[in-house]
Symmetry: none
Amino acid sequence: MVRKLNEQTRERLRLAAVELFASAGFAAVGIRELASGAGVRTATLYNYMSGKEDLLVDIMQSIIDPLAEAAREAMETYSDPRERLVALVEMHVWVHGGRRRSTLVSDTELRSLGEVARKEMSLKRDEYEKLWRTVVQQGVEAGIFDVDNIVITTTGLLTLATGVAYWYRLDGPIQLPDLCALQADLALNLVRAQGANGPVRRSDLNVGPPIEVLPPDPAL
Amino acid sequence: MVRKLNEQTRERLRLAAVELFASAGFAAVGIRELASGAGVRTATLYNYMSGKEDLLVDIMQSIIDPLAEAAREAMETYSDPRERLVALVEMHVWVHGGRRRSTLVSDTELRSLGEVARKEMSLKRDEYEKLWRTVVQQGVEAGIFDVDNIVITTTGLLTLATGVAYWYRLDGPIQLPDLCALQADLALNLVRAQGANGPVRRSDLNVGPPIEVLPPDPAL
Amino acid sequence: MVRKLNEQTRERLRLAAVELFASAGFAAVGIRELASGAGVRTATLYNYMSGKEDLLVDIMQSIIDPLAEAAREAMETYSDPRERLVALVEMHVWVHGGRRRSTLVSDTELRSLGEVARKEMSLKRDEYEKLWRTVVQQGVEAGIFDVDNIVITTTGLLTLATGVAYWYRLDGPIQLPDLCALQADLALNLVRAQGANGPVRRSDLNVGPPIEVLPPDPAL
Amino acid sequence: MVRKLNEQTRERLRLAAVELFASAGFAAVGIRELASGAGVRTATLYNYMSGKEDLLVDIMQSIIDPLAEAAREAMETYSDPRERLVALVEMHVWVHGGRRRSTLVSDTELRSLGEVARKEMSLKRDEYEKLWRTVVQQGVEAGIFDVDNIVITTTGLLTLATGVAYWYRLDGPIQLPDLCALQADLALNLVRAQGANGPVRRSDLNVGPPIEVLPPDPAL
DNA sequence: GATGAATGAGGCTTCATTCAT
DNA sequence: TATGAATGAAGCCTCATTCAT
């Protein structure tokens, strides 16, 4: 029954880290702030981590692994490049909108990692992005995407979908599923996706609701 | 010709600051690094600045003011919302591609500023973004942009154009003017810009070359 | 009995601060000296203070509050202005002679305080001095003090009694109680205090031994 | 004609030093402040001094030498210990009231001097004080001073007369000559100076106006 | 598991001073 | 004479971390 307190502290630390890293940046956050955010003394932190970087790695892994997993799921669930694109965008936005702080940190603080961790994360990220590029390519080859430069456009798609982390608020006027749909349409616009009769929109496609990776959490 | 030693140091400091802030983040850069980057001792730095934040403010102003100026020029030069959009995107990309480090810092480190400077910069940025929103609105009202949500789309346009700072290299395979055109087309896609016979591309419009704000500099 | 290490350090720091500030002046004392005086490294100091000024404030409060308290006691214990004056002088000298270093710092370093603390201390000091002035006035009004200028004379009384901090040594030839009596006589001289048959001396009055505020400490 | 500028700077520097040292203390004053007080850059200061301590030494010498000189004059002019005491007090007060900042520095900053200069100044000061003690002793031996402890009383006399530097203002309500007379009376009180019919006051003695050492200067 | 205490290293900044011009 | 530029040393303070309790 004593272990309950324990997990509370661990959880508060996680939250504090996400909140602080997201708002001030990893380098600008001191362990004193982390400790007071978690309601303990600095020395206590070292029962929960071996160093500040641990916290950062945890945050990143909490994002990047589910994201990769969900991306694979999207690829398996759909085969039409337009549907695949929509699914990718929507699960990406789902995570970036639903856990904006964590994804912000994840997207921003690669440089703050030590060499080992950085390489590992970079690899994962590259693989993830390759999936997206593949889909764009498939759309182009299928003649249903009209794209000048595949690399730039893919980057644009990712940039666009990632951007929601910078401004979206779960408790704002827009519901997360609606945001997903809106961003999916933007993505289809970007690649000039074509349907039977001209430009295609999300609502024209046979795509289910967003894959619900990671429950949204306004604190994360 | 001897009096230049001074300006050389100042220039080297500027370059070092941009380079270091861009790659490691303001908070993670120590003044020792800045000093050695500028080829002087730390005490010497204080002949050129009153504090580390000075360097950051300088960088930001070097970007944000020219950007605002060029945006105003774009608005005056063109009246068609599609042309205006293209002009905005192209001068934005011109700067973000041509001075990627400075713009990266400018876009990322607002939080590192003290309260006074932060407010000032925020104001300027807000005004700048309002210009973009106005153009989108005008396009929608004119029936030539097909946009679901003006705010989200405007944010997307800015995100997209700003994103080039994260990956574009002046010395890479793509020429800056070409990048501008490509990004302009992406923007037109995003708003589903319409011409006489369907979707419009940059090449369909009567827009001159990008406004050449700030000469590109691979070091900046 | 092991838990005292802590208080030992704190005490050593207090002593070092008093000693150093008194002999070299607040501004001339570096935290390195304070640290080595306390037998710790500089970083350790900050477990015991939030800044150098803390130490100064502590010293001042250790003097000024007991002084005010004892002054009030003197006023309550006696009603005859001559007796009151003697009591004030003696408790003042008791403190200034018994804790010369602390009082020296207290009297000298007001200017080294930040604005907030300075104002607070100034207020307390002003109130304290007002008590003295009141006693002089009462003596004049009762016709037992012969004083040309009340303000100047009061200042002189305080100057005189405070002055012992500059030269008295607890371990010198003069005992603290004797010093008190001597200074009391000087004070009576200064105001030309009159008794039944001419000038009055301390031994003519019905005054008990000095109020023993703060035990004397040659280190303080 | 160019030398005029020169002397202006030297003079401004002197004034700035006195003003700053008096109000903040030698150790707390930086050469930047001295420079800006003198209206030049820091490097320029070194055309007028060989180090910060020079300024302090100059200030002290400007006080201590004239003081000693005037003390000797007082001893030569008068022979009655009561008159001598009055003359000493009045010229001391004349200087300490007329040049309060300089005397403040002079009395306070001995500790800030290097060993060599400190010893020299200490010697001068000791000699000066010895003169005072001599006078008190002579009064006691002549049976016209009633003093318990010669050393303590002498110290008290000096403390009292020196004290004016801490509060007197040339531009306040009290004229300097009046202040001298008031303080002379306080001194006579302190030693219980006797005349033909009881306690003696300054006005009972045959003493001329204060020796006018050093013209008063509110800036000094 | 929690923490008080301590610390080496380094944070940013100012110090007094020198020197070439 | 005046100063812009540079600097080693030191200023105060915070950093992340360890360890005994």
